[in-house]
Amino acid sequence: MKLILASLLFLFAAEGQLADPDQEARAQDLMREIRCVACENEPISNSGSDIAADMRERVRTMIADGASDDEVRDWFSERYGEFVLFRPSSKGFDGLLLWGLPFILLVGGAALILAVRSRKASDANAIKPVPPEDV
C-alpha cells in the first residue's frame, strides 16, 4: 500500500522528449509495457517514482541510439528479470500456453460445436425457420 501512495507523490523530474516524433511514440509505447520495479502494478509511463523516471530516460536513450523495440525489452529483462515486462515472453511451453490457449479454446470450441451440430442435425429442409418477433 505504501508503495502506491509513494507513487502518487508524482515525483516527476522534468523530462526531455525525443525530437523525432516517431521515436518518441515508440518510446512511449515501450514505457507502457515496462513495469516500474518500485511500484505495485504500474508501467513506468504512469509511475512517479524516481526509478521509473530513470527507466524512462534509459528507454529514450536507447531508442535515440537506434535500438530496436526488442533490444530495449531484452535490455530491461536481462537486468530486472522477466517480471519487468508486461508483455510476457511467448517462448517455451509456458509462453506458448499463455499466448496460445485463448485461440486454442476458441478454435477447439467452434470445432466441437460444429461437429456436434453436424452429427445431430437431421434434414436441413425439415427445419422451418421462425423469425424472431421479440428478443
Partner: protein, 632 residues
C-alpha cells in the same frame, strides 16, 4: 446501539437458516416470510453502522479506524462501506435484499420451485452472514474510545467512489439469486422455457448495476489517479470484468432457453458460474494473492474463508449440474447458421474471453508457484482478448437478423461489402486530425458498424417510423445496448491509439505547446479544505477560438498522511484536455518549476456513455412487461 445492530445481524443469521431449511423442504410461504424478516433485521443492523458513522462514534472500532470528525458528512456515511468489514455488511444487506425481493416478486405456478430457490438463497445468505460475524465483524467496540478517528483513505472521498461499491455489489450479489434460481431449477429438473422467463429479469437485474458499477470505478480511476487512462488490466479490474462477461453470455443464452427451450443445461451452468466468478473476484481482491493497485483490506485468513466458500458452494452447484444436466430437455432442431447458432457463437466468444482474462490474471500466480516471476499486462490482453471479442462485434450486425432454426444467408455478401467499404473509408480518410493507423481504422469501423447495425435491425423490425414507439421494450433495450457497445468501441479505440501524453515542467508565466493547445502556467497557490490542504495550479490553455482555465490540485490529507491528485479536465466536446499536477522543484537560486502530466484524450466520454447505454438497454429489457408471467 451497535450491540443492537450486532444482535440484529445474529437474528438475520437465524432467520436465514430458517429460510434455508423451510425453503429446501418446499414451504414457499414460510421461506418467503423468513427471507423478509432476515432482510429487515439486516437492514436494521446496517442502519446502526450508518448511525455510528454519521455520529462519529469512535467507541466503535470500525468508525475509529475509518472515520474522522472533519470529514464531510456524505463521506462519513459512505465511509461505512469504504472498508472491508462495512463493505461485507453491505454485501449481506444486498444478498438478503435479493432474497426478500424474490419472496415478494416470484409469482409463477411453481411454488415448490420458488421455495427451493429461496432455500438456496437462504444458504447463500447464511454463508455471507457467517463470514461477516466470524471473520470480519464490524460491530466491535473500542475501549477506551479515542478522541479522534484515523480517517478514511482520501482516494475514497469522492462521489463516484461513494456509490461504486453499492452498485458493484448489486451486481455481484445479484448473481447469487440467479445462482439460487438455477440450483432450484436443477433440483426440480425443470430448467425450461418457463424457468428462463422467470429467471431472465433477475439476470438483467444483476447485469445492469454491475455494468454501471464497473464504469463508475473506471471513471473514478480516470479522473482521480491522474494517469490519464480508463482501464489498466489490473487484477482487481479483471476480477469485476469476469462476472460481467459471464453475465453477458448468460443474458444471451437465456433468450434461447426462453424462446426455444434449447441451451437449458448451458444456461444453468452460466447462471451458476456468474456468481462463482463474483466470489472469485471477492477472493482475489480481499485475499491479497495478487498484487494490485487498489487491493485494500488484504488478509490471508479471510482469503482462505472466501476460497473455502467458493469451493464448497461452487463445487456443490457444479455437482448438482453434472447430475441433472443430462436430464434436461432440449428445444427444436437447429442448424449452425441459425439464431441459436449465432447466440452459441456469442457465448463461445464471451466464455473464451472470460477464460483469457482468468488466464492472464492467474498466470503470474501459477508461474510464481513454479519459481518464476512474470507479469501479464495490457499488451497481452490487447493481443488476445481484444481480437477475440472483435470477432463477436464483427458478426453481431450480420447475425442478429437470423431466424430461429435456419437462417436465410442470401444477403451475406451485402454485409461483407458494407464492412469492407467502411474500413476502406476510415483508412483513406485517416480520420482527420488524429492520423489513424490501419488497426485503429478497423476498430473505428467496427464501432460505426455496430451502431449502424443496431439501427438497421431496429428498422428491419419496425418497418416504419410510426411503429418505432410501439416496438417492445426488449427490442429497444437490445438496440440501445448494441449501439452503446459501438460507442464504447469507438471511444476505446481512440483512447488507445489517438491519445497524446506529455510531461511538462513549467515555472510561473511560462508556456508550452501540446496537441494544438498553448498551455500557460499563471501561478500555483496553497489552498485549504475541510480536512485537506493543497497546491493548486492555475493554468490557461488556449487554442484558436477556445480558451480554458484549468486548476489541477495536489491535495494532502493530514489525518491519513496521504497525498492525492485532483486532475483538471476541460471537455471540448470532441476531446478531454486533462492535466495532473506533479511536484514543484526549485533549482538553486532559481524559481520553482512545476511538473504537469498533460493528456489529450479524444472522445473518452464515448466509453462511459456507451456503458451507460448498455446498462439502460438492460434496464429496458428488464422492465418489459412481457418478461413476467407465463410463456405463451
Amino acid at each position: 446501539m451497535i450491540e443492537a445492530g450486532h444482535f440484529a445481524a445474529i437474528l438475520a443469521l437465524v432467520f436465514s437458516a430458517v429460510q434455508a431449511f423451510t425453503g429446501l423442504r418446499g414451504n414457499r410461504g414460510q421461506s418467503g416470510l423468513f427471507a423478509q424478516l432476515a432482510f429487515a433485521a439486516m437492514v436494521f443492523a446496517f442502519f446502526t453502522l450508518l448511525w455510528a458513522f454519521a455520529r462519529s462514534d469512535f467507541s466503535v472500532q470500525l468508525v475509529a479506524a475509518n472515520s474522522h470528525t472533519l470529514k464531510p458528512f456524505v463521506y462519513k456515511l459512505a465511509g461505512t462501506w469504504g472498508n472491508h468489514e462495512g463493505s461485507m455488511a453491505l454485501w449481506c444487506v444486498v444478498g438478503l435484499g435479493f432474497g426478500a425481493a424474490g419472496a415478494w416478486l416470484l409469482k409463477s405456478d411453481r411454488p415448490v420451485f420458488e421455495a427451493r430457490a429461496l432455500g438456496v438463497q437462504g444458504i447463500l445468505s447464511l454463508s455471507s452472514l457467517l463470514y461477516l460475524l466470524l471473520a470480519s465483524s464490524p460491530f466491535t467496540r473500542l475501549d477506551p474510545a479515542p478522541l479522534q478517528g484515523q480517517g478514511l483513505n482520501p482516494l475514497l472521498q469522492d462521489p463516484a467512489l461513494a456509490i461504486h461499491p453499492p452498485m458493484l455489489y448489486l451486481g455481484y450479489v445479484g448473481y447469487s439469486f440467479v445462482f439460487a434460481l438455477a440450483a432450484a431449477g436443477l433440483i426440480e429438473k425443470r430448467v425450461d422455457r418457463q424457468w428462463a422467463k422467470t429467471a431472465r429479469p433477475w439476470a438483467l437485474a444483476a447485469f445492469v448495476p454491475l455494468s454501471l458499477g464497473i464504469a463508475l470505478g473506471s471513471y473514478w480511476a480516470y479522473y482521480e489517479l491522474g494517469w490519464g487512462g480508463w482501464w489498466f488490466w489490473d487484477p482487481v479490474e479483471n476480477a469485476s470484468l469476469m462476472p460481467w462477461l459471464i453475465g453477458a453470455a448468460l443474458m444471451h443464452s437465456i433468450i434461447v432457453t426462453e424462446k426455444r427451450g434449447s441451451f437449458a443445461a448451458w444456461t444453468s451452468l452460466l447462471a451458476v458460474l456468474a456468481f462463482c466468478f463474483s466470489l472469485l473476484g471477492a477472493f482475489l481482491v480481499r485475499s491479497g494473492v495478487l498484487t494490485s493497485v487498489h487491493a485494500f483490506a488484504v488478509d490471508p485468513l479471510r482469503g482462505s474463508f472466501l476460497l473455502g466458500g467458493l469451493l464448497v458452494l461452487g463445487g456443490s452447484a457444479l455437482l448438482l449440474f453434472a447430475l441433472r444436466a443430462p436430464k434436461l430437455k432440449g428445444g427444436p432442431d437447429w442448424l449452425a447458421t441459425s439464431r441459436e447458432g449465432a447466440l452459441m457463437g456469442n457465448n463461445l466468444i464471451l466464455t473464451v474471453a472470460t477464460a483469457t482474462v482468468l488466464l492472464g490474471t492467474l498466470f503470474p500466480l501459477i508461474a510464481e508457484a513454479a519459481g518464476q516471476t512474470i507479469s501479464v499486462g495490457e499488451p497481452y490482453f490487447n493481443l488476445t482478448f481484444t481480437p477475440i471479442m472483435a470477432l463477436a462485434l464483427l458478426a453481431l450486425p450480420v447475425v442478429q437478423a437470423w431466424a430461429w432454426g435456419k437462417a436465410d444467408l442470401s444477403s451475406l455478401w451485402k454485409w461483407a461489402g458494407g464492412f469492407a467499404g467502411l474500413v476502406a473509408l476510415f483508412w483513406l480518410a485517416g480520420i482527420g486530425p488524429f492520423d489513424i493507423p490501419l488497426m485503429a481504422g478497423i476498430g473505428l469501423a467496427l464501432g460505426v458498424w455496430l451502431i449502424v447495425g443496431a439501427g438497421q435491425e431496429m428498422w428491419r423490425r419496425a418497418k416504419s417510423l410510426g411503429r418505432l414507439p410501439k416496438m417492445p421494450l426488449r427490442v429497444w433495450g437490445m438496440t440501445l445496448a448494441h449501439a452503446g457497445l459501438g460507442l464504447f468501441v469507438i471511444g476505446a479505440v481512440l483512447q488507445t491509439s489517438g491519445r497524446t501524453q506529455t510531461t511538462l515542467a513549467l515555472e510561473a508565466g511560462e508556456s508550452a505547446n501540446i496537441a494544438g493547445w498553448t498551455v500557460t502556467l499563471e501561478d500555483v497557490r496553497s489552498i485549504e479544505g475541510p480536512n485537506w490542504y493543497a497546491d493548486r495550479a492555475h493554468l490557461i490553455a488556449t487554442k484558436p477560438g477556445t480558451k480554458a482555465e484549468l486548476n489541477p490540485q495536489k491535495r494532502y490529507y493530514p489525518a491519513a498522511r496521504m497525498p492525492t491528485t485532483e486532475t483538471a479536465i476541460h471537455k471540448t466536446g470532441t476531446a478531454d484536455l486533462y492535466v495532473a499536477l506533479g511536484d514543484g522543484r526549485r533549482a538553486a537560486g532559481g524559481p520553482t518549476r512545476w511538473t504537469f502530466e498533460v493528456f489529450v484524450n479524444p472522445l473518452i466520454d464515448f466509453i462511459y456513455v456507451g456503458v451507460i447505454l448498455i446498462g439502460l438497454g438492460g434496464a429496458l429489457a428488464m422492465f418489459d412487461r412481457r418478461g413476467s408471467g407465463k410463456v405463451s
